[in-house]
Structures are given as structure tokens and as C-alpha cells.
């Protein structure tokens, strides 16, 4: 079975531009989460979606937005890019969320990430 896939692998943008990152979860997984990993740091939670609804949001500005589609794939959008947005953006999928996400159902499987460089 295919794992979590992300596109593109690398992206170079300039300040002020907009970027869209894409993620396809593992087949059967209905929850997708996005994380930002700045070089030398642990990942920071941005958003979580389950059944196409936002279920959690981290401490990121409104320039960051996301959505989940009927096929459970997801997009992360970042507007008005800043130099500080340069990072590895990780997508993770899990089977379930909330009351049913116990035991192995809450395990998050990560994609390879998208490396965003803002010049």
C-alpha cells in the first residue's frame, strides 16, 4: 500500500507570494494533520482535519489555511510568504480522530515532506 504522499518535494518562492502544498493520506485514513518543521527543531502543529472539517489549529497566523477534500486529500495554503516560513512542511494521516482514536487508531503516519524555501 502507498504511504502518505506529498507534493511538491521542493519549492522555492519569494517573499509575498502564495504557496499551495498537497497531501494524499494512506488509503482508508480520514484524518490529516499538517506540521511545520524549521531546521533544527521539532515539528510544530498547524492544522488537523477529519471528515473534511477542521478539528484543531495550532498557533499560526491567518496567512495559513487548509482544507480537506471528499477523497480525504488535503491542501495547505500560505499567503504573503515571509522568510520565516522557510521550513519542511510535513503531512500526517491517521485512521480516526476523537473518541474513536484510541490505541493504534491515533497513530500518525508521516509523508516525506515539502521543503519550502522563501527568498
Amino acid at each position: 500500500d502507498a504511504g502518505v504522499t506529498q507534493s511538491p518535494t521542493h519549492l522555492i518562492k519569494t517573499r509575498g507570494q502564495h504557496v499551495t502544498l498537497r497531501c494524499s493520506p494512506i488509503s482508508g485514513h480520514k484524518s490529516v494533520s499538517w506540521y511545520q518543521q524549521v531546521l533544527g527543531q521539532g515539528p510544530q502543529f498547524i492544522f488537523q482535519y477529519y471528515e473534511k472539517e477542521e478539528r484543531g489549529r495550532g498557533n499560526f497566523p491567518d496567512r495559513f489555511s487548509a482544507r480537506q477534500f471528499p477523497n480525504y486529500s488535503s491542501e495547505l495554503n500560505v499567503n504573503a510568504l515571509l522568510l520565516g516560513d522557510s521550513a519542511l512542511y510535513l503531512c500526517a494521516s491517521s485512521l480516526k480522530f476523537g473518541w474513536y482514536a484510541d490505541g493504534p487508531y491515533n497513530e500518525q503516519f508521516f509523508g516525506p515532506g515539502t521543503r519550502l524555501t522563501v527568498l
Binding site: S33, G42, F45, G56, F97, G98, A101, D102, Q108, P112
Partner: protein, 119 residues
């Protein structure tokens, strides 16, 4: 708010020896989950081991085991018979549980420990 602290930025170990990575966390929750993730230089994050807070028995996965001390809020990872392929960044992560089962879903990561296994 929950926090995760990894106090060892870098560690090294000789092949076939044992190494222990430290992690402490701060939470007022009683139901939660703890994870160790491995991120090799190729950057794909992989789950190494998980521990449910309600389980007193320490989790083990082949050469990997944890020492979970709930009262001390400590969650260390022991790697036995270290192999060259264990060279990676290791992240300790916390997931909040829900009062009546299940989980909130997003992970809170520490800053990581860079482990080098030397031949």
C-alpha cells in the same frame, strides 16, 4: 499547555552498544499518549514506539524499549544493540487524550536528539 523537553541535543554510541535518550513532559492531563519518532537523514518520520499513559507496563518493540515514569513525567527511550541504521534524529512526542477515551489527535514534539551510531 503541554510541553515536551529533550535535554540531549546530540548523542553518540558505538555499534552494538546500548544508549538511552531522555524525554520529560509537562501536563495536567491524566489521559495521554507518548511516542518516540525517528527521522533519518532522508527525513521521513517513522514511529518507533508508543506508550499509553493508562498502561503501567513499559512498551517494547524489538531492540527499542521505554522507561515510562508517570509520576516523574519522564519517558526515556533505550536502544539496545545499536546499529548504523539507527543514526537519526529522535523526537519525543505527546498527544492529549480525551476524558472518556480517544485522543485529540495533534502531536506536541520535543526539539529532538541527534543520535550518531559509530562503527
Amino acid at each position: 499547555a503541554q510541553t515536551v523537553t529533550q535535554s540531549q541535543p546530540e548523542m553518540s554510541v558505538q555499534e552494538a552498544e546500548t544508549v538511552t535518550l531522555s524525554c520529560t513532559y509537562d501536563t495536567s492531563e491524566n489521559n495521554y499518549y507518548l511516542f518516540w519518532y525517528k527521522q533519518p537523514p532522508s527525513r521521513q518520520m517513522i514511529l518507533v514506539i508508543r506508550q499509553e499513559a493508562y498502561k503501567q507496563q513499559n512498551a517494547t518493540e524489538n531492540r527499542f524499549s521505554v522507561n515510562f515514569q508517570k509520576a516523574a513525567k519522564s519517558f526515556s527511550l533505550k536502544i539496545s544493540d545499536s546499529q548504523l541504521g539507527d543514526t537519526a534524529m529522535y523526537f519525543c512526542a505527546f498527544m492529549k487524550g480525551l476524558n472518556y477515551g480517544g485522543s485529540q489527535g495533534n502531536l506536541i514534539f520535543g526539539k529532538g536528539t541527534k543520535l550518531s551510531v559509530k562503527p
